[in-house]
């Protein structure tokens, strides 16, 4: 059996560690659910078929495009449909050759299906001409040979699609292009009923304008906050410092007593000092000096380290004395969560997150795994300290009792 004094705290710490892990796991699983759902086929919402839903565009902030298409739009759509007809012709040539399960079951898509969707039916990306085609077609050979001539028109289709704002078409069904869609639909049908997947059409998504506006406002406000922090108004800072001093003197305390947080912070610092000093000592002791100058340096370093440890011990005595003055009190049931995480405030607070750029899945995985490993090591160290603390404390207590 473990000594009584030792066990309680160790068990509590272990259970705390287990809880922390469980919480992390829950968050991860939640995130995984969302990610998996995103990578599957998206459910069509109402009449919005496979096009990315416009969402918050349906508010007054955005002036709704005219119900009658502008001449510019009409021209673009004309171009679009010409290209479509061409694509259909080509496709007929291919699909006649080898049509398998991609036979259309032409559900009567409502006129709401914007031209954009059908234009994108052959999921060609200018950048990935050959590869994608083989993805979605049952026939590979003929498709790839016909890619180059299609490439250009489809690139234009894509850019047009972007300009005509795929989403908005849905709200005001335009009779003109809509009808053309109907004509096109049966022939181009192999692709129309296909559900939306991120893999194939993800690169065609566009964030709604309202969101973009609010998000950019958000980013700019955070940037203003950061710049205000760094170029701190000296008047306000001086006023605050003065106020704090006045408060200190008014409360009658001659010297600010050490708060629990400060003791904690100092203890952490001393721990860090201890491990850094020890590491350095090991380095020096294991290095083999080749000449007398190196030897001298080594000696000086060791003596310097010794002096620093002495300073740390001195600081520790001071802390001990300060702690001893104050009667110990039992821990509160749960420490109130700190309002000021040590991360947030500090030398250079960039209140909005910086970017962390990665280039491959492998890299991201390595990064994440290392982060977890570091967290786990810190937890293990903490538990080891708890055990040692209880031991040392127990040993001391037993010695003094005798």
């Amino acid at each position: 059996m473990l000594p009584r004094d030792c066990s309680g705290r160790l068990v509590a710490e272990l259970q705390g560690a287990l809880d922390a892990c469980a919480e992390r796991q829950l968050q991860l699983e939640q995130s995984l659910r969302v990610c998996r759902r995103l990578l599957q086929a998206w459910e069509p919402t109402g009449t919005r078929a496979s096009e990315p839903p416009p969402g918050p565009e349906t508010n007054e902030e955005d002036p709704p495009p005219a119900c009658t298409p502008s001449p510019q739009d009409l021209k673009e759509l004309e171009f679009l449909t010409q290209a479509l007809e061409k694509a259909v012709r080509v496709r007929r040539g291919i699909t006649k050759a080898g049509e398998t399960d991609k036979v259309p079951s032409p559900r009567s898509r409502s006129t709401v299906a914007p031209p954009g969707t059908i234009a994108f039916a052959p999921p060609q990306n200018p950048g990935r001409a050959g590869g994608r085609a083989s993805d979605a077609r049952p026939t590979k050979g003929p498709c790839q040979t016909t890619v180059p001539p299609k490439g250009h028109s489809e690139r234009q289709l894509l850019s047009l699609g972007h300009k005509t704002r795929v989403g908005t078409g849905a709200r005001a069904p335009r009779p003109g292009p809509g009808l053309r869609d109907q004509q096109m639909a049966p022939s181009a049908a192999p692709q129309a009923p296909k559900a939306f997947t991120l893999k194939e059409k993800g690169h065609l998504l566009r964030l709604p304008a309202a969101f973009r506006k609010v998000a950019s406002q958000n980013a700019s406000l955070w940037a203003q906050l950061s710049s205000m922090q760094t170029s701190d108004s000296t008047d306000a800072t001086a006023a605050k410092t003065q106020f704090l001093q006045n408060m200190q003197t008014a409360s009658g305390g001659s010297q600010p007593r050490l708060s629990a947080e400060e003791v904690e912070a100092e203890t952490r610092r001393l721990w860090k000092a201890c491990s850094l000093l020890r590491l350095r000592m090991r380095e020096e002791l294991s290095a083999a000096p080749t000449d007398w100058m190196q030897e001298y340096r080594c000696l000086l370093t060791l003596e310097g380290l010794q002096a620093m440890v002495g300073q740390c011990l001195h600081r520790l005595q001071e802390l001990r004395a300060a702690v001893a003055e104050q009667p110990p009190r039992p821990c509160p049931v749960r420490r109130p969560p700190r309002a000021s995480p040590s991360c947030g405030g500090g030398a250079d607070p960039a209140w909005s997150p910086q970017l962390l750029v990665y280039s491959s899945t492998q890299e991201l995985q390595t990064l994440a795994a290392l982060r977890l490993r570091v967290a786990m090591l810190e937890q293990q160290i903490h538990l080891e300290k708890v055990l040692l603390e209880e031991e040392v404390g127990g040993l001391e207590r037993r010695r003094t009792r005798r």
Binding site: R206, F211, A239, S251, G253, R269, L276, P341, G345, E363
Partner: protein, 398 residues
């Protein structure tokens, strides 16, 4: 629109210590010191309990005025003292910004590289009553095994998430209006997939914008507040140090913190012994060797140079632990961005660099753990020797 808070009238009344201003200020202090989401059950604690938590939190942060600890917790009086406490908090740190940062809407996929948050989170509740029955060591071993298993689970879930995240970033590349980002994040893609959720996100974001604007306004005009607070301090009667009551109301250091200090002391003393031995040995060897080298001017110049170099190095080492935060290490959450070429701007972090930093951190921590485990084993052996009948616990760790 902004969430509700105490009106200016409350503040004015608090200056004159009017009792009716007290409950609102207790509540405000609670929300500042223990920021919780509104749906958290702790948010609806009884006012007395909130008051007690406020007192405890202020005490642990080192609030200098004793009067606060003496205030009744029923909210019947003390508004001026509470106003002073609030101002003390506001003067010490960027409280509004920190609160905003905590409730920030994350638009991107974020990863935090530093471990600061882990330290700041509340520790486990200390056992109020020590276990009366000694705990079976097998129970402890079982708990440790369970912990190892949970970590393994975390690692594999994390790896899966990275794969999915990477795919989502890849598939949506070229979408984002912001060129520097390039692709959508999970939150943004989710918004497109689920327009209703997207509306919710938009509303929350707009709300945050209003609050950001409010904080900016505060920062531009806060001097007026501090000038006013000086007058509040003036209305307080100067207090003589209440020496008699100091005993009961001093901020106490929780019991086990004292234990940690002892541990550091123990470690430092052990280190000092080792260093003393090594240094004395080397010094003796050096004196024997170099004693006959002569004391020429070039010799003393060389010695001085060496001394200076060593001082500089050790000074840098000292700064490593004296500064609470390593300026070289990135802090806070970062937005993940996938770029095929891995190109990054001046302010951006590159994954490869972060990996390097983490690897060196890992090595350092492994050394520390190894060291501690060694100490643990020694300590246990000593205990086993000192107290017969004690079972030796296998060391913690993998």
């Amino acid at each position: 629109s902004l969430p509700s808070g105490p009106s200016p009238e409350i503040f004015r009344r608090a200056k004159f210590d009017r009792p009716e201003a007290t409950p609102a200020l207790w509540q405000l202090l609670f929300r500042v010191l223990a920021p919780l989401p509104l749906d958290n059950p702790l948010a609806s604690l009884a006012p007395e309990v909130q008051a007690r938590l406020v007192k405890s939190a202020l005490r642990s942060q080192g609030y200098p005025r004793l009067a606060l600890a003496q205030l009744p917790e029923d909210g019947s009086q003390g508004s001026r003292e509470l106003l002073l406490a609030l101002s003390w908090l506001l003067a010490r740190g960027p409280v509004p910004e920190q609160m905003l940062a905590q409730t920030r809407v994350p638009l991107g996929d974020e990863m935090t590289v530093c471990q600061c948050e882990a330290l700041a989170s509340p520790g486990p509740p200390a056992p109020q009553v020590r276990a009366e029955d000694p705990v079976d060591v097998r129970y402890v071993q079982w708990l440790m095994g369970k912990l190892r298993f949970r970590w393994r689970q975390l690692v594999s879930s994390q790896q899966e998430q990275c794969t999915l995240l990477s795919k989502i970033h890849l598939y949506t590349s070229g979408c984002h209006g912001d060129q520097s980002l390039g692709h959508l994040s999970v939150a943004e893609a989710e918004m497109l997939r689920d327009p209703e959720g997207g509306q919710q996100l938009l509303r929350t974001l707009e709300c945050e914008n209003r609050r950001l604007e409010a904080v900016l306004t505060w920062r531009r005009t806060e001097l007026v507040f501090w000038q006013w607070m000086d007058t509040v301090l003036d209305t307080c009667a100067p207090r003589a140090p209440a020496a008699a009551s100091q005993g009961t109301f001093l901020p106490g250091i929780p019991e086990h913190r004292g234990g940690e200090l002892e541990l550091v002391a123990w470690e430092l003393r052990a280190l000092q012994e080792e260093l003393q031995e090594a240094a004395e040995c080397r010094r003796a060897a050096w004196e024997a060797k170099a004693g006959g080298c002569g004391r020429g001017p070039e010799w003393s110049a060389v010695r001085r140079a060496s001394r200076e170099a060593v001082e500089k190095e050790l000074g840098a080492l000292q700064r490593c632990w004296e500064q609470d935060r390593d300026p070289a290490q990135p802090h806070g959450p970062h937005r993940l961005v996938r770029r095929e070429d891995g190109a990054a701007g001046d302010w951006d972090l590159r994954a490869a660099e972060v990996i390097r930093t983490l690897r060196s951190q890992e090595a350092c921590l492994e050394a520390v753990l190894h060291q501690l485990q060694g100490q643990c084993r020694q300590g246990l052996a000593r205990l086993a020797g000192a107290l017969p009948g004690l079972i030796w616990i296998p060391p913690l760790g993998r």
